[in-house]
């Protein structure tokens, strides 16, 4: 399978923060959810992909072409022609109205499709004469999404794009993204705190914390296979000594009334430990146990 985006061993140093050895890939036909707490390094990683910052080491390839300081500006521009980007705020000049934003985009993108842009504006009910500063947060996000999609990109990069949207607007945005993914040659890298959105739409989940990748798994491995066992202390001890987990693989979190244990395969676990309470894992609980859990 072709990767639309390949990040290998990406590192970047700032005072007080280091991005270290980041590996991340977006295969064609996939949506990669990029999660992590505030300040974990998501936006720094995305900025490196978008050539807004220069990495200290590592490599970034987009559409098979390496992005670095030696790349000519025409090559960089041709890569950007095939990408659509949405940030967490509507970043167009405040004084421009929606119609003029479309006009500006038509000058930027050679493959700009004004009919498609108009269709998105109708779908999102965006008034053409309204200025960017008068758009609500949700409307601004929809305008950004319309602009990102209306030049038929192959790769979408969304940095907290659905933050600040109400649930209905988020569902609308997710429907548009699903429609975008009908083409198997497309891909999305989507950073988000709203893990419920990623559970609905992502194929892979990559988690970053303190500038390092903590895990990179298929989403279904979390939501369809993994589970969280809720143990009492005695149950926890017998579980730890049972040999079900390899040494060092058992992740758990102590609470006031019990201990949560991350279970990679809840079906196998249920067969072996019928008396221990077990829930499906969500991206949130999985992240919590991977980031804050102890190991044994």
């Amino acid at each position: 399978m072709n990767n639309l985006l390949d990040i290998r061993n990406l590192s970047k140093h700032y005072d007080g923060f280091d991005l270290q050895n980041i590996d991340l890939h977006v295969p064609a036909g996939s949506i990669v959810g990029f999660v992590g707490s505030n300040g974990a390094g998501k936006t720094t990683t995305i900025k490196a992909v978008l050539d807004l910052i220069a990495p200290d080491s590592g490599s970034i390839e987009v559409f098979g072409q390496r992005i670095d300081a030696h790349m000519s500006s025409s090559q960089t521009v041709s890569i950007k022609q095939r990408m659509g980007v949405v940030f967490d705020t509507c970043s167009f000049p405040e004084e421009m109205n929606v119609k003029n934003v479309g006009k500006l985009m038509s000058y930027c993108y050679t493959a700009w499709d004004s009919t498609l842009f108009e269709r998105y504006l109708d779908m999102f009910e965006l008034p053409r004469d309204k200025t960017v500063k008068d758009l609500s947060r949700g409307m601004g996000m929809k305008l950004s999404l319309a602009c990102a999609l209306a030049h038929n990109p192959e790769l979408l990069i969304l940095d907290e794009a659905t933050a600040g949207l109400d649930p209905l607007a988020r569902d609308e945005a997710l429907d548009v993204l699903r429609d975008f993914m009908r083409n198997e040659r497309h891909g999305i890298l989507m950073s988000s705190h709203i893990t419920s959105d990623l559970e609905k739409i992502a194929d892979y989940i990559v988690c970053i914390d303190g500038g390092r990748i903590v895990f990179s798994v298929e989403k279904d491995a979390i939501t369809d296979t993994a589970g969280v066992a809720h143990c009492r202390v005695a149950e926890f001890e017998s579980l730890a000594e049972s040999g079900f987990f390899a040494p060092g693989d058992m992740r758990y979190l102590r609470h006031t009334y019990g201990i949560s244990v991350l279970v990679p395969d809840r079906f196998a676990f249920a067969e072996n430990f019928k008396d221990i309470a077990l829930d499906k894992a969500s991206i949130d609980t999985y992240m919590g146990l991977m980031l804050k859990g102890e190991t044994r």
Binding site: K47, L50, D51, L52, I53, A54, S73, S74, T76, V77, S78, K80, Q81, M83, V85, F87, T89, C90, S91, F92, P93, E94, E95, M96, N100, K103, L104, M105, Y107, C108, Y109, T110, V132
Partner: protein
């Protein structure tokens, strides 16, 4: 580069119309009050580009536009070159507006010869002085932007505004104190100044001086653009 020019002009379109009307009315009134038609073009040619340049630079830092612009398929070179081009267009527009305002005053004075203040403005109209008044803002704005824009390309508007006044102050102090600092003999410039003065006595000579000023300003402006491109290429967002 077209996208960048369009972006800038669409951003300031509303302000440009407002300022064009406001400044034109103000300067025509001032010129009648002060009895000086030659202030019209320099006033418009300096005020409008100056204020619109800083309006554009301020809008760059609002809404994350400056960062988002770089994820569009615009090279950093085109962003800078487009900015220099759009400010040059604003300057040209301002000078044309100023000349048009002069024509309005001259036309008004010929229709109202019994108003002495108005009539006095066109009575002793000099082509040389009109040409020089149109060229003065070109030189001033080109030099001002040529110093300011590279600083902003390197540091961004918010940081650069701390350094720009200091830079100008140093330039002015060096200019004023250059006789002492560089041991310059200003008397040695007299023959040159006399030549310039005698050229300005004819229209052809004035045009020649205007052409030289435009050429020097253009070279400085282009050199500044090239410097800004280099500084902007390395900047991180």
């Amino acid at each position: 580069m077209k996208a960048m020019i369009l972006s800038d002009l669409l951003t300031v379109k509303k302000y440009m119309k407002q300022q064009a009307l406001l400044y034109t009315v103000i300067v025509i009134a001032l010129s009648i009050f002060m009895g000086n038609i030659y202030m019209i073009v320099p006033f418009l040619g300096v005020m409008m580009p100056f204020s619109l340049a800083f309006t554009l630079l301020a809008y760059d830092e609002r809404n994350n536009w400056e960062q988002f612009r770089l994820v569009l398929p615009l090279s950093r070179r085109n962003v800078i070159a487009g900015r220099y081009a759009s400010l040059a267009i604003v300057l040209l527009f301002s000078i044309v507006l100023g000349l048009a305002a002069c024509l309005i005053v001259v036309a008004a004075s010929s229709f109202m010869p019994n108003i002495p203040e108005l009539f006095g403005l066109s009575a002793s109209l000099s082509a040389q002085e009109i040409i020089l008044s149109a060229i003065a803002p070109v030189g001033m704005i080109c030099v001002m932007l040529s110093i300011t824009l590279p600083l902003i390309a390197r540091f961004g508007m918010t940081k650069a505004v701390r350094y720009v006044p200091v830079f100008f102050l140093v330039v002015i102090l060096l200019g004023v104190g250059s006789g002492e600092v560089f041991k310059l003999d200003f008397g040695s410039f007299m023959p040159f100044l006399n030549t310039v003065g005698s050229m300005m006595e004819t229209v052809a000579g004035t045009f020649a001086i205007a052409g030289i000023i435009i050429a020097i300003s253009a070279v400085i402006y282009l050199a500044s653009c090239m410097l800004s491109v280099k500084l902007y290429a390395k900047r991180e967002f």
